[in-house]
C-alpha cells in the first residue's frame, strides 16, 4: 500500500479519538451511577458533573444491605438464578444430544416445534402463563419462578447446543459405541467434555437471563420476602423517589456479579452471539 507513515499515524489517532469518545459516552452513565451511590443523600442533586463525591460515604450501602433487606433479595435472586441455570444447561444439553445424535420417531417434528418457539416473544405468553401458574399453585414463591425461567430458556439453548453438537465428529461416537458405551456414557463423557465452550456460553446466558428477569417476577410475586433483586430495586425507587443514592447503591449490588461474570467470560459472549445466529 502507498499510504505514508505520517498519514497512517494520523488515521490511527483519529480512530482512537472516535473510539475514546464512544467509550466515554457508553461508560459515563455507569460512573455517574457509581459516584451517586457514594454521595450523602442531601447532595444527590447537586452538581451532576462531579464524578468524585466531595464527601464519599458508605451510608447508602449500609442502609440498603441492612435496614432495607437487600441482602435477602440478593440471596433470593442468587438461588433462583443458580438452580435455573443448572436445570437449563442439563435439560437443553440432553435435548440437543437427543436431537443430533439419537434417532426416534417424531424427532424432526419436536425439533421443528423448538424452532417455532424461537419466534414467539415471551411477553406474548404472560397472561396464559399467569393462569397456568395460578392453577399449578406456583404464584408468589421463588420455587414457582424456576419452571417458567427454565421452560422459556430451553428453546434457545437447545438450538445453540444442537448447532455445536453437530460439529463434533461422528466417528468418536461410533468408536465409543463399538466399545460398548451406551448413549448416556457417550453424552456424559464424550459430548459434554468436548462442548465446554458452548456450555460456558449457555451458562452465562442462562444465568444473566434469570438474574435480570423482571416482567414475570413482577407479575407473580407479591410478598416482600420472596422478592428478587430487579423487583426490589424497581419498587424501591417507587418508594424513595428522591433517594437516588440508595437506589443506585442497590443497583450496584445487582450489576456487580453481572460485570464480574461478563468480564471474566467475555470471550464466550462473542462466541455465543455469533455462532448461535443470535436472539437478543
Amino acid at each position: 500500500m502507498v499510504v505514508s507513515p505520517t498519514r497512517r499515524r494520523v488515521i490511527t489517532a483519529v480512530r482512537y479519538l472516535l473510539l475514546a469518545i464512544a467509550a466515554f459516552l457508553l461508560v459515563y452513565p455507569f460512573l455517574y451511577m457509581l459516584s451517586t451511590s457514594f454521595k450523602p443523600r442531601s447532595l444527590v442533586l447537586g452538581d451532576p458533573t462531579s464524578l468524585i463525591p466531595e464527601d464519599p460515604t458508605l451510608d447508602n450501602y449500609i442502609q440498603v444491605l441492612g435496614a432495607d433487606n437487600f441482602a435477602r433479595y440478593f440471596l433470593n435472586s442468587a438461588m433462583v438464578a443458580v438452580v435455573s441455570t443448572v436445570l437449563i444447561v442439563a435439560l437443553s444439553s440432553m435435548m440437543a444430544y437427543g436431537f443430533t445424535r439419537l434417532s426416534f420417531p417424531g424427532r424432526r417434528i419436536l425439533f421443528g416445534l423448538i424452532i417455532v418457539g424461537l419466534t414467539i416473544p415471551t411477553m406474548m405468553l404472560i397472561i396464559p402463563q399467569f393462569l397456568l401458574a395460578r392453577d399449578l399453585h406456583l404464584l408468589n414463591s421463588l420455587q414457582g419462578l424456576v419452571p417458567f425461567y427454565v421452560g422459556t430458556a430451553l428453546g434457545f439453548n437447545t438450538f445453540l447446543l444442537s448447532g455445536f453438537f453437530e460439529t463434533l465428529p461422528k466417528e468418536l461416537d461410533e468408536a465409543m459405541t463399538i466399545d460398548g458405551a451406551g448413549a448416556w456414557r457417550r453424552y456424559w463423557s464424550l459430548a459434554l467434555p468436548l462442548s465446554r465452550p458452548a456450555l460456558a456460553t449457555c451458562v452465562i446466558f442462562a444465568f444473566l437471563g434469570t438474574w435480570d428477569e423482571f416482567a414475570w417476577a413482577l407479575t407473580v410475586l407479591n410478598d416482600v420476602e420472596v422478592r428478587t433483586l430487579p423487583i426490589a430495586i424497581a419498587l424501591f425507587q417507587g418508594q424513595h423517589s428522591t433517594s437516588w443514592g440508595l437506589v443506585f447503591a442497590a443497583s450496584m449490588l445487582a450489576i456487580i456479579p453481572v460485570l464480574i461474570v461478563y468480564i471474566v467470560f467475555q470471550r464466550h459472549f462473542v462466541a455465543g452471539l455469533t455462532s448461535g445466529a443470535v436472539k437478543s
Binding site: 442533586l45 424427532r107 419466534t119 416482567a215 430487579p230 443506585f248 455469533t274
Partner: protein, 318 residues
C-alpha cells in the same frame, strides 16, 4: 428388514421371526433412549411455551372472567374489534413505530461505525469491545432507573447538557411530562443500551472478510471508502439483514424501559402495545382483551419480519 437377507439359507424357519423381533426390540430401545433424553426438557417447554401460545389465541376469543368457576363466554372477534377501535391501542402502535424508527437506524449506523473502527489490529481493541458491550449486559431495570435519573426534571445531567452546554432550550425540560420529550429519553436509552450488540455482530461479520480482498482492492487503487463500499459492505449484508430484523422485533416489543420511565403516562400518551396489554391484563384484569392485544402485536411483528426477510432475500439475489 435387511437382517433376513444376510441369514444363511440353512437357518431354521423359527429363527427368522425371533431375530426380527430382536431388531425391532433394539430399535424400540433406541427410541426409548431418545425420548429419555428429549422428553424431560420438551414436556416442560411444551407446558410453559407451546400450551400458553395456543392459549393466548383462545383467551383472546373470550370475555375472560378471572373468578374461578364463573363462565367465560366466547365472544368471537369482539376483543379484536375493540382493540382496533380503541384510540389508546392505536396510539400505542404509533408509539412503538416511533420507538423503532427512533432507535433502529441509529443503532445500526453507530454499531457499524464502531465495528469499522475496531476492525483492525489495534492495541486495546478487546478493551474497547468489552466497554461497548457493557450496557447490553446490564439489566433493563437498572439502566431504566439510571436514565430516569439522568433525564430528571430538575438539574439532571440531560438538562445540564441541553440547557447549559448546548443551549438547545431556554430552561430545564420536564422530559417525562410530554410524549415527544419522553420518547427522546426512552429512545436515548434504547440506542445507548443496544449499540454494543449490533457492533459485535457487525464486527464478527467484518472480521470474516478475507484480508486479501482488501489488499487486492487497494492495489486496484480503491481508497478507504471504496474498499468499504465494494468489499466490506457486500460481505456483511447477511449480518445486516439479521440485525435489522431482530432490532425491529425488539423495537415493537419494547416494555420494561417504558413501564419504569413513564408507566405509559402522562395520561396514556406514551403507552406502547406491551405496557397497554400489561395494564389491561394485570390492572384491569381484562385477560381476554389483553390476549387480543398480545396476539395482534405478535402477528403484526411476524408479518413485518417475514416481509423484511423476503425483501432482503430478493435484494441479495439480484
Amino acid at each position: 428388514m435387511s437382517t433376513t437377507t444376510v441369514l444363511p439359507p440353512a437357518a431354521s424357519p423359527s429363527s427368522i421371526p425371533r431375530r426380527r423381533r430382536a431388531a425391532a426390540g433394539a430399535g424400540r430401545r433406541a427410541a426409548l433412549t431418545g425420548y429419555a433424553f428429549v422428553l424431560p426438557g420438551f414436556s416442560l417447554y411444551a407446558l410453559v411455551m407451546l400450551y400458553p401460545a395456543v392459549q393466548t389465541f383462545l383467551l383472546s376469543l373470550r370475555d375472560w372472567k378471572i373468578t374461578p368457576g364463573v363462565d367465560s363466554p366466547w365472544v368471537g372477534l369482539d376483543n379484536y374489534i375493540r382493540a382496533f377501535s380503541d384510540p389508546v391501542f392505536l396510539n400505542s402502535l404509533v408509539n412503538s413505530v416511533i420507538y423503532t424508527v427512533g432507535t433502529v437506524p441509529l443503532q445500526i449506523a453507530i454499531g457499524l461505525g464502531l465495528a469499522v473502527l475496531l476492525d483492525s489490529k489495534l492495541p486495546g481493541r478487546t478493551a474497547f469491545r468489552v466497554l461497548f458491550y457493557l450496557p447490553v449486559v446490564t439489566s433493563w431495570v437498572v439502566v431504566s432507573l439510571l436514565f430516569q435519573y439522568i433525564f430528571s426534571s430538575g438539574d439532571g445531567l440531560a438538562n445540564l447538557v441541553v440547557v447549559d452546554v448546548f443551549h438547545l432550550a431556554q430552561e430545564n425540560v420536564s422530559w417525562f411530562q410530554d410524549r415527544w420529550t419522553a420518547f427522546i429519553a426512552i429512545c436515548a436509552l434504547g440506542v445507548w443500551k443496544g449499540v454494543g450488540w449490533s457492533m459485535l455482530i457487525f464486527l464478527a461479520a467484518l472480521t470474516a472478510v478475507p484480508r486479501e480482498l482488501h489488499e487486492a482492492a487497494a492495489i486496484d487503487g480503491a481508497g478507504a471508502w471504496g474498499r468499504f463500499r465494494h468489499v466490506s459492505l457486500p460481505s456483511i449484508r447477511g449480518a445486516l439483514s439479521v440485525i435489522v430484523i431482530l432490532l425491529v422485533i425488539g423495537g415493537f416489543n419494547v416494555f420494561i424501559s417504558v413501564l419504569l420511565m413513564t408507566g405509559g403516562g402522562p395520561g396514556n400518551a406514551t403507552q406502547v402495545p406491551l405496557t397497554y396489554m400489561y395494564d389491561q391484563a394485570f390492572t384491569f384484569l381484562d385477560f381476554g382483551y389483553g390476549s387480543a392485544i398480545s396476539f395482534s402485536l405478535t402477528a403484526f411483528v411476524l408479518v413485518v419480519s417475514a416481509a423484511q426477510y423476503w425483501w432482503t432475500r430478493r435484494a441479495m439475489r439480484s
